[in-house]
Symmetry: D2
Subunit: 441 residues, 4 copies
């Protein structure tokens, strides 16, 4: 936010001229408050900066507020909609699917809603995946199921073929639920649609269990993930205390950012070392992790280490990166590396330790959402529908300053939130863990 | 916020001249970012209103940012601190106690920390409650315990006697954790201290499981409460579906505001009626609850009703209010009233129903905090300490626009947040429940 | 068992002549071990008594072992089956339904399986409840749902009309899941069937969350109930400790037996008084509960009381009993009575207390089964099918000496297991609580 | 039990002549039922076999019933006791510690109770571990902690040194909580004690999360383990369904027996393959796992595999076994082997799969006990005390035919319970999974 300027304008397919059927649903004194056109949420909340901007005649950067509008673009009786879930599982996927379907069906009266199976592959004929008809009966009871009833897949698919499929199916409104890669694909799909002159909206719902989508302060599934990660840390702590020189080593999610690791360490305050991608650390040397760990064991006889999967990548051969099907760089497995290095270090010094390595990632990401995420997802899904029905496109539904907002897809593309080493979260982690800087001079 | 002006200035006991020992704790490249004096958070986030204010030369209403300061007021080596928990139990009390004690002890080096037992009674000699010495050993493992290790009590105590006790014990910094009544008492205590010319800071941490403290967007324990309330709703739904014309009636907390009831209904989407203090409803008549419920049973054969304890108070004799020890008006028991009225209504019409009444309030409020609240409380407690150490007083640690802030105690006193009938939360409840306006013309 | 003789012979509709299709399912070396005809489980396990019986030429009382037989009575291709769930909800009902349907469908190849809705009412035409077609698709995902997908109801229905319905629907095998009253009805239904010369088997699966069916050592749902009851006791304990002279009073299920109360008190060892139907206690007088409670508060300042709903019935007007729709005597509400008596007692003595009354019964009984009960129910349901397919009737599937067995319906009818005051369970409760005899001489 | 004869006699240090102080605790009509000397529980429950034995004049093999005796051997006022926990963590360890301490302290009035830290190492001076004084204050609140407050360690220690330590500390009664190896050590310690003519009782409490101690039908922690394992299977199933040709592969505990794997598969009925040590399977060939898995994926597009850690050991080089510190053969890691083999198999065939490997073992074993195990452990711990106080030694507290019994330590030594391929548990697993025999001819 430091002096950057943001283009937060939202693209629309055309003027919204149809009165929203939600007015029909308005029941007497429960007056529905439609969101008026010009309602925005300031990105910046520092009053000094705000004052400076305004006095300098600069516009205040802001996001458009999400929510139902008085007029919509699509005729619900003729509209066909599609949903697709892409990438890794995340608690809350089924909540989003449910909210989108129920709002389309009961709120707007849309009757043709299709679930695309297995992520972007579901658009590509050669895979032969059938679409799933979605209606209230199908989605009512899915809240307590983890995973995605639509299933998912990783990896890109040819944008033109996807748009071909949308044309063939006569889709007017596409909801794409996925992470960074998916949202970049969504952006390209929306561009291809616009360049073909089609009338198809693409609305994204950002999914990142790591909570690291740029300009989105909170993403669904994160709270659920922290809750379950906490359980794993309790186990690791019990194992560490259970044996002479016990070490509990837990690998948590976080490819590029340590939000889960840092937050879970605060939710269960028995962690001694938190290693995240944002903070450099050495293994060897007088201030390195291994020596520091040895000191800790001497003093306290046990230790708990939480490591985010993207931490310590400098220890791997980054000259020859490998890629996964989604095009993400394959990370070196820092959990296994730490396990080996720690075992070797203490073996060399003939110090008996008892190391337990725990990797709960798949357990965490495939469980159902917690109550907080149930609620959050119900808002996200409904606001995605409200946005799409007005003909807005190339946007995702975000959250900023405690409000649901419209964020242009181009804004977060290729950027990420990270834990600020000088910020409140990391400072509290340091205080809770007492952990030192583990970098040699 | 509609055009109100807020005095958000914070009172201090005197200039903070002592360098913070937290600088000592600063470990090389983990540069601690002290909060600079003038960091604030704007209360308003609507850019149009912000622009109008600034262009009109009005100051932008804002809260001071919470967090550690470069200089403090109290000498940690001489400081004695006290903590007290007041009013009803709430998930997270022990988290707060723990965070305050650990930050005082390890962060600032304070060694004399006293727990006042049984709320404000603990200050009054005639009750004879001993204080509890608080140190890391005592608080380290209390996160997974519900309740408060200090215990609590309801009701006011004489302000002068409380201040006498603080003088007698030589307390310099008092942390008061409690709800609306407690914060009003805290305000009076702080005033009495100032009028006696004493150097005692009073820092409040707002506790309201109902999440209804004015100008505080989120309070600890609320997320935990919603999570457990959700379980009760699932049970009620199973009971309702389990019998012919089954009705599940759940009373949830919410004396003056329906946040728990409304949010829990969104977290578990099988509720048909949500009754909250903010929304009027009739029992009798063609649009009243009873007739509407009858119609629902005819159509669907079961129904789930969530009622906040403060809903429907118009059905009780409010001419002769009664008061509880804390001075709160004793509410009529809307849960039992609904139970009786529903039973009588259907008996009269010879319609067999199976009504199950569930009141999970004590179960909800006395369980440990959820992971999310564990984290939230760890921030709240530490920021309360940071604020108090600088000599700030008559303030509480609040949360606004996703930031921890200092709120003058006088600001929320006697006012409450409520569910906005035209706002996003209630609108989504209506859509999720399909519930009609139940007021006759 | 004290010298009683038991008739444990099982009635059959006729000879089982059809080879079990389960042999087909036999896959090479996974040799299915059919239960041979004469496999029994001794009721008595005291070797001295066994020796005495045998030496006296008496038969050793025993139950027939449950499980699949080599030959069956019904032709699966022509068989129609029905399931009904009766009485109060209990964790595990859906597990049983699922296991019965899957075993019938996949194990034996039965294709016509009907779910009777709303208990015995579902047989009676005037209520107009449709039957539910049951097949694997319907039941596969119901394990994590509480309640019963068939719903239930209380109260008897005319036996002849039920048998008329069975004839009309051409049912050959009826599974009845219910408690004491249901099993007595099942017995009468089976008799009526036999007297009409029909070929319909009736197999019962005993449901009693109270775990008090005579000659059945364990019933499903009990473990799940204890698990959730434990949570409520933790809450009550937190509330009790949270206030000056705090009292947590929890009412748990147990109309005629205190198994849940006693077991839950052992699972969470902070209970001070356990009151159950089997153990007399006085309220007043020098050894009565109220004086004992006063002494406890003086010594420890808080107390937790667990009361089974059937305890202390002598305090109610038993001269004029009332009955519920199932014909059970309506119990006086001992929870509310205790609440009132305790409040009055301490008010009279001007002793301030803080009493919290918690009744978690509906929450407990309507939640899904715990893992242990999931497994237990899968055995019960499959063994019920195995029994029924052989033409056995008038039996229920029980559990004795860690084996699943066939128990004639007539055996437990009208009798109940109770907590033995001199036995291990109650002795351990006394030791865990330290509770005295509260009866005046 | 097949015709084996068992020596189930229990060794005692000498005659029990001191009246039990438990009689003092006897409170009027709560008449304590001491266990009379000759109370036993028959091992066999098949009435035909029982009859045959008795008629042949053979004694009926039986275990002595556990529980308090009228007279005891040790003088509680002079007795010093010690507890030690050995081997792997297991839910319920703290429950046992708590029950033993409370029964010794409150039941018998023993005041000197020592916790030996870090397993058998704690006896050996060179390690320098201090003992922990155990009293009610220390153990009251440990029920909800996982692990062991005494910590543990693996591996044997010299028997004479252990007995030296017992003499030095003047211990009269030693409780050893551990698995197979620990119980064999306990046996040797008891023999060494007897050969030195010391008056020290050794009482074992069998710990095996795998539930495979011979002649003990149920061991603590098993139910808790199954409950948590079930969660992991749900995750694996969600992951499997979440991707094209998704495979969820979960490794569960079970070095020599598949009880956890088989039972967890029944508790959560979405498993397709259960691999346990008792059942042979091939990887390759037309009936091998890999081909069978390929067929499953073709038919259903996803699969869930549960493998016990001791399954498939034939695929490893058993000619050169390695040993862990406890002297157990180091098993080959079948989980990782399966992962590699499956990946290679499908890569070779150019079939895209998505394999997720989950190993929740450390999470499972270090969590607190479930309610059921809380209760079970409270019985086990108290009965261990009752046994020890009478001077009985070289025994462990077991469970058989739903009774707590005394089992001579020598009986289960070196033997194990295993899943019976023809028995009810495995048969139901086959029916629930539909899994074929995967052995080529």
């Amino acid at each position: 936010m430091n002096g950057e300027s943001f283009d937060t304008r939202i693209v629309t397919l055309g003027p919204a001229t149809i009165p929203s059927p939600l007015t029909m649903a308005d029941r007497a004194t429960h007056a529905r408050t439609f969101v008026e056109k010009d309602r925005h949420v300031a990105i910046e909340v520092d009053p000094a900066r705000l004052q400076a901007m305004i006095e300098a005649g600069q516009p205040v950067p802001s996001f458009e507020l999400a929510g139902p509008r008085r007029r919509i673009y699509f005729d619900p009786s003729k509209l066909k909609c599609a949903l697709v879930t892409c990438g890794g599982l995340c608690p809350g996927l089924n909540d989003i699917i449910r909210a989108v379907v129920l709002e389309l069906y009961y709120g707007y009266g849309v009757r043709n809603i299709y679930g695309i199976r297995y992520g972007l592959r579901g658009f590509i004929p050669k895979y032969g995946h059938e679409v799933m008809d979605l209606c209230p009966d199908v989605v009512t009871d899915i809240l307590e199921m983890g995973g995605s009833i639509l299933s998912s897949s990783r990896g890109p698919q040819p944008i033109p073929e996807i748009v071909d499929a949308l044309e063939r199916m006569d889709i007017g409104l596409l909801f794409m639920i996925g992470g960074d890669g998916t949202l970049q694909a969504a952006n390209l799909i929306a561009d291809e649609i616009l360049s073909r002159g089609l009338h198809i909206s693409v609305v994204g719902i950002p999914k990142t269990i790591d909570n690291d989508i740029y300009m989105v302060s909170r993403s669904f599934g994160f709270d659920s993930a922290v809750a379950v990660a906490t359980e794993a840390i309790i186990s690791a702590h019990n194992e560490a205390q259970g044996y002479p020189n016990g070490i509990g080593l837990i690998k948590l999610m976080g490819r590029h950012s340590g939000f889960i690791a840092a937050t879970a360490a605060l939710a269960q305050q028995n962690v001694n070392f938190v290693l995240i991608p944002e903070i450099d650390f050495d293994l060897d040397g007088p201030r390195g992790l291994l020596k520091t760990l040895e000191d800790r064991l001497k003093a306290r006889h046990h230790a708990v280490i939480v490591v985010a999967e993207g931490a310590g990548q400098k220890f791997f051969d980054t000259a020859h990166p490998q890629y996964d099907p989604s095009g993400n760089v394959k990370l070196g497995d820092i959990g296994l590396l730490l396990k080996e290095k720690i075992l070797a270090y203490f073996k060399e010094r003939d110090i008996e330790i008892s190391l337990k390595y725990i990797d709960p990632s798949y357990i965490i990401r495939s469980l159902p959402a917690c109550a907080k995420d149930h609620v959050f997802c119900s808002f996200l899904g409904r606001d995605a529908v409200h946005a799409g029905m007005t003909g807005r496109t190339k946007l995702l539904v975000g959250y900023w300053n405690e409000q649901f907002v419209h964020v242009p897809m181009s804004l977060p593309a290729g950027r990420r939130k990270q834990v600020d080493p000088g910020g409140k979260l990391w400072q509290n982690v340091i205080q809770a863990t007492g952990q030192a800087v583990m970098v040699n001079e």
